[in-house]
């Protein structure tokens, strides 16, 4: 009591309540800054997926984030009274590093809009894309590559800014679910329309014209316009995902270029990119313009046989026409890699269609004259020449190659594309064959391996809507759309299918055991329910014989490392506050600093309460109430009714704090309960027991330790360790709308990580429904609501009180997404006891089947 009266001395000593109030004011600042820092981090994470690091908006946001983090560290300093002072130094070091990275990125973002192919060196790959860099290398080595030029990724970024593509991407991409074709299709259509309706900026158009002039070609020379995305052809093939425009006259180049850019947003290209885990910002698209080769024959060449990489053979596919897209049938040749290059094996097909250039530009499919259709499209001598050239390229590049070639009117060979060929030598040989009569034998192995699963038959990939996980898909034809289901299926069999086509490249990239040219598989397998494919042995057996390795395959797909800037800014490594390494010196990124400061603030607030209540200071009282939570009240001044100020125990009614009263309405709501249980989950409980065996010592605050509520007239801080989790509400309620806020934090649980994280998502869904901004990292939930009118803020506090009661031990039931969603719906519907009778979900009608718990 004495301490509350202002001291009469000249240097007024601060009253304990004053000091407490000051530190809670620092906490208030800290939580507000934390929310806004998390907002910037989320924005920045999105930006870095779409925008190059050198973009000015990235710098702007990083600077804003650094500013807020500095304020956060400052607030922690005031709250903890200097205990985490070294955090300033840590943040300073990170700030310096980030600044130099931004400067570097800005320097790197410079470069020309376009480059002649003859001037492209290896270091330009990030600007001109993999395909162009590779062709430039071949051309400068004296190999027959047509002359041309590249429009760099800088041009692409300039166009993207002009078209406000980043804005649309941010709006569209979150809506896309790659398993849902219609959502993909809708997003794709909007994005493509946007690209196609935006005029090509004049500087880019000028650059194209200047390059064409520089080539000094004849007026009627036409070009092939093709994509050259960064990252394309190296780790990812993007095979057949982007469009090309062939035989384009010089005045149509800008438009063709725009069409190629638009193909970046085709449904299948988006699906491919998303399923490969590549960010939008990591694969900007340069565009390659090459002199059109007046080709009579064209095709693909593999310098190794992917089905049997150890054999000493090259694979050549050839057909009539200017471009061999891979969809049409062609002749197949197997040619010896050793000198003289004998043709070991030949399949000459009936090639009924070919694409031929149109006089005004573009190409058109036409019927091949009858006398030509059955002729071999390339002679043995030409095959030998192709083989020699291919091996030269293989030596130059140091790896097996997948080449596109053409032979012109004069009989000279041209190389149109060269990319590394994906091979897997380990799986080529099959283990012991099962003693079952195969349903099907023969075909061409595209990717070796074994798989069992349900059989799904369709005319082509386009006809397939939903493909079950691990299915054996049997198609009549292939198309690049198959990329949509390749990551999920067990095996693929195609009646036709080109072993050197785009689909084959994708199959190898996704490591799907596959057979092409399987003849009549769609007919033979009609009515078969499940089958087992041994792609290397070229056999298909009835029934489920092999253990699926689709799962193993999915894990092999590499996750691309984040950019160095993300590493220092947005990535979060400090996740476990109980770990030994949770120290300020372990902070590697700005996000780490934010997390660390926030966590330490919470711990400090707990220890503030412990100090106050253990010292039996006047400000700590026991809350006397019917709700079974062990709460201690800290008065920050003005929070209690005058008559309660001297009592050691207070009733909730004696607390005047506006936000406390609102929160308490929810906590003491008659429908919610803080003790007892009506339901349990066996698997959830087992999970809790398993954690209890090993995890009890690993919490930052002991189980059952005290919980506090600090109150001021317009302020409340509810800081609680409840059961195995932990919850905090920090709120301000006034008549002045702009000073109202709620901060909410929730973490932990007794069950395993999956269930805890699902409960965090449960909270996220409920909170978002009520207008909160939410940031979830694993099982940590941070939510905030700011500047709402007094009534709304009070209403939300009431809701939070109920939500905290309802979500206790809910992690036990969070077995999967579906149950999480059910609980969200139940909470939002006011079914706070989660009674099934209140809303019977489908399939749960059998009330008698409900088991009763007997053995406990």
């Amino acid at each position: 009591v004495l301490g509350r009266r202002p001291a009469p001395s000249a240097q007024p000593a601060e009253s304990p309540t004053g000091r407490l109030a000051r530190r809670f004011a620092a906490l208030k600042d800290l939580l507000g800054t934390n929310a806004s820092a998390l907002e910037v981090i989320t924005e920045l994470e999105n930006d870095l997926l779409l925008v190059p690091v050198g973009d000015p908006r990235v710098r702007e946001r990083v600077e804003l984030l650094l500013e807020r983090t500095a304020a956060l560290v400052d607030a922690l300093d005031r709250l903890a009274e200097g205990r985490y002072h070294e955090l300033r130094t840590v943040l300073g070091a990170i700030r310096n590093e980030v600044a130099s990275q931004l400067d570097n990125a800005q320097r790197n973002a410079q470069g020309a809009l376009s480059y002649p192919i003859s001037e492209v060196g290896g270091d330009l790959a990030p600007l001109v894309g993999g395909k162009a860099a590779q062709l430039a290398l071949l051309r400068t080595s004296g190999l027959p590559v047509p002359d041309g030029f590249v429009l760099s990724t800088r041009a692409y970024h300039q166009f993207a800014r002009e078209a406000d593509l980043y804005g649309s991407l941010r709006a569209e991409l979150p809506q896309v679910n790659i398993d849902d074709l219609s959502s993909l299709e809708r997003a794709s259509q909007r994005l493509r329309a946007q690209v196609l309706t935006t005029p090509v900026p004049p500087p880019i158009e000028l650059a194209i014209r200047a390059e064409v002039r520089r080539l000094m070609c004849r007026a009627d020379t036409t070009f092939a316009v093709r994509s050259s995305a960064v990252g394309e052809d190296s780790t990812l093939t993007f095979a057949g995902q982007f469009d090309s425009r062939i035989h384009i006259p010089r005045d149509g180049l800008a438009e063709a270029c725009r069409a190629v850019w638009a193909s970046r947003f085709s449904a299948r290209a988006i699906a491919y990119r998303v399923s490969s885990g590549v960010a939008e910002a990591d694969c900007p698209m340069a565009v390659l313009f090459l002199h059109m080769v007046q080709a009579r024959r064209s095709g693909v060449l593999y310098t190794r046989d992917p089905a049997d990489a150890r054999s000493d053979t090259l694979l050549v596919t050839a057909s009539w026409g200017v471009s061999f897209t891979g969809a049409s049938t062609g002749d197949h040749f197997r040619v010896s890699r050793t000198r003289r290059h004998d043709v070991l094996d030949r399949h000459v097909r009936n090639k009924s269609v070919r694409s031929m250039p149109l006089p005004g530009g573009g190409v058109q499919e036409e019927t091949v004259p009858a006398d030509l259709a059955d002729q071999p499209s390339v002679a043995d001598g030409e095959l030998a020449a192709l083989a020699a050239l291919a091996l030269q390229i293989e030596r130059l590049c140091g790896a097996p190659q997948d080449l596109e070639w053409a032979i012109d009117d004069a009989g000279s060979i041209w190389i149109l594309q060269a990319r590394p060929l994906r091979l897997d030598t380990d799986r080529a040989r099959s283990p012991r064959a099962p003693k079952v009569t195969p349903l099907l034998t023969g075909g061409v192995t595209i990717y070796p391996g074994r798989a069992s699963g349900p059989v799904l038959i369709a005319e082509s990939a386009r006809a397939l809507e939903r493909v079950p996980e691990g299915a054996i898909v049997v198609l009549r034809h292939t198309c690049p759309e198959c990329v949509k289901f390749l990551p999920h299926i067990g095996g693929l069999i195609v009646d036709f299918g080109n072993p050197t086509g785009h689909s084959a490249a994708l199959v190898r990239e996704y490591r799907v055991p596959a057979l092409f040219e399987a003849g009549e598989a769609t007919r033979v397998l009609a009515g078969v329910e499940s089958a087992s494919l041994d792609a290397a042995a070229k056999r298909l057996y009835p029934g489920l014989l092999f253990v699926a390795d689709a799962q193993a395959r999915a894990h092999k797909r590499a996750v691309r490392p984040p950019h160095a800037l993300a590493e220092r800014v947005t990535s979060l490594k400090l996740l476990d506050p109980s770990a030994w390494s949770f120290r300020s010196s372990s902070c590697r990124s700005v996000h780490d600093v934010v997390r660390f400061a926030h966590e330490k603030a919470i711990q400090t607030v707990f220890s503030l309460g412990d100090e106050e209540s253990e010292g039996r200071r006047a400000s700590s009282r026991v809350l006397e109430c019917d709700v079974p939570i062990d709460l201690h009240v800290l008065d920050l001044g003005g929070g209690l009714a005058p008559e309660a100020e001297t009592a050691p125990r207070v009733r909730p009614e004696a607390i005047r704090s506006l936000p406390f009263r609102a929160l308490w309405r929810g906590i003491s709501h008659p429908e919610v309960s803080w003790a007892g249980r009506e339901y349990v989950s066996l698997s959830g409980f087992t999970s809790v027991v398993a954690r209890a065996i090993t995890d009890r010592a690993n919490e930052s605050r002991e189980l059952g330790a005290r919980s506090y509520v600090a109150v001021g007239e317009n302020y409340v801080n509810f800081n609680s360790r409840l059961a195995y989790h932990y919850a905090m509400v920090d709120a301000c309620v006034e008549d002045v709308q702009s000073s109202n806020f709620i901060n909410f934090r929730f973490k932990g649980g007794g069950a395993d990580a999956v269930r805890k994280n699902l409960r965090a998502r449960f909270l996220q869904e409920c909170l978002q429904h009520f207008g909160f901004s939410v940031d979830v990292r694993d099982d940590l939930v941070n939510a905030w609501l700011r500047r709402y009118p007094r009534e709304v803020t009070e209403d939300r506090l009431d809701m939070l009180g109920r939500l905290m009661a309802c979500s206790r031990q809910l992690d036990m039931f969070m077995a999967d997404e579906a149950s999480m969603r059910w609980y969200v719906a139940a909470f939002l519907g006011g079914n706070y006891r989660f009674r099934v009778e209140a809303e019977v979900p489908p399939g749960a009608a059998a009330g008698d089947g409900k088991k009763r718990r007997r053995d406990l």
Partner: protein, 310 residues
């Protein structure tokens, strides 16, 4: 001579075992009991009945001193605690009686060896328990290391109602005012007590790893009450277990003394290291230790059968 050792050797041996197991218990939080009883049998040839009895006596000493040291004996729901104690006492009696029956069941001939039935059954139970613990812990820590796949509508919709069981509402229903529970079936409380009692009486483990989650996740106690009541319970169940085993001549004071000395020191060291070493990987280590113990239990039995004799 004590189990074929001089008294000094025996004391030193038990103290060392107590140190190692206590260290692990301190490090991992719980888990001492699972390892201590079978290891006493495997390493020192202590019969299971004496291992269980002495282990409980040792635990009674440890938990009482821990409770006094922490001064955390407030916040007990005595109504709940005493009811649970009734269940626990019954459970301990049942457990100890089963052990008594096994003790008197004599031996069976396996190969050329005479193996006591008690040895066979207890080895099997411990092996199964340790195997289960190891597997569950390993699975959980793998889950902790894996990320939840975000945003997939493709999760298989299992019939989660099978997952969700109503807590038994068989009368008599009672209320627990201290815990704020309006109505709960007496049988649920007795059941939880009984389960941990059987574990204590038969296997010599404290059962805290089940009791604490059960108090919070099944009975729905407020945490502070759960913590206090759990401490109260562990003291009661180990003391009662020690008493009832003592009346059956299953407690050996040398074993108790050795273990007490060792585990007091060991658990302190373990607890001080746990924050440095914590995390999912440490949990894996615990699982592997459990597996090693299983192998030791099995190996001991196999060797005995192979060697022949009594």
């Amino acid at each position: 001579l004590i189990f074929g050792m001089t008294i000094v050797n025996a004391l030193a041996g038990f103290a060392t075992l107590g140190l190692v197991v206590g260290f692990m218990a301190g490090l991992f939080g719980v888990g001492g009991g699972f390892l201590l009883t079978p290891l006493l049998n495997i390493l020192f040839g202590v019969p299971y009945n004496i291992a269980v009895g002495s282990d409980l006596a040792q635990m009674a000493g440890m938990s009482t001193s821990a409770t006094i040291r922490h001064g955390r004996i407030g916040n007990i729901d005595y109504k709940l605690g005493l009811l649970m104690c009734a269940g626990t006492a019954a459970g301990v009696e049942v457990g100890a009686s089963i052990l008594e029956v096994l003790k008197k069941a004599g031996a069976v001939t396996l190969g050329h060896a005479r193996i006591p039935v008690m040895n066979l059954v207890m080895s099997a139970i411990y092996a199964a328990l340790l195997l289960w613990i190891g597997t569950v812990v390993l699975r959980e820590s793998r889950k902790a290391l894996a990320k939840v796949r975000a945003g997939g509508a493709d999760t298989i919709e299992k019939n989660w109602l099978v997952e969700r069981l109503s807590v038994l509402r068989l009368p008599p229903m009672i209320s627990l005012p201290r815990s704020g529970i309006a109505s709960i079936s007496l049988w649920v409380i007795l059941g939880v007590g009984f389960t941990t009692g059987v574990l204590a009486g038969l296997l010599g483990v404290g059962g805290g790893f089940i009791r604490m989650p059960a108090l919070i996740y099944i009975i729905g106690c407020p945490t502070a009450v759960a913590v206090g009541t759990d401490l109260f319970e562990i003291m009661f169940s180990s003391a009662y277990g020690a008493f009832t085993h003592a009346t059956r001549a299953n407690v050996n004071l040398v074993v108790v003394l050795g273990l007490l000395i060792g585990s007091t020191v060991g658990s302190q060291i373990g607890a001080s290291l746990t924050r440095r070493l914590g995390g999912p990987r440490l949990r894996n280590v615990f699982a592997y230790i459990a597996y090693v113990a299983v192998i030791m239990v099995a190996a001991k039995l196999v060797i005995k059968i192979a060697k022949g004799g009594g």
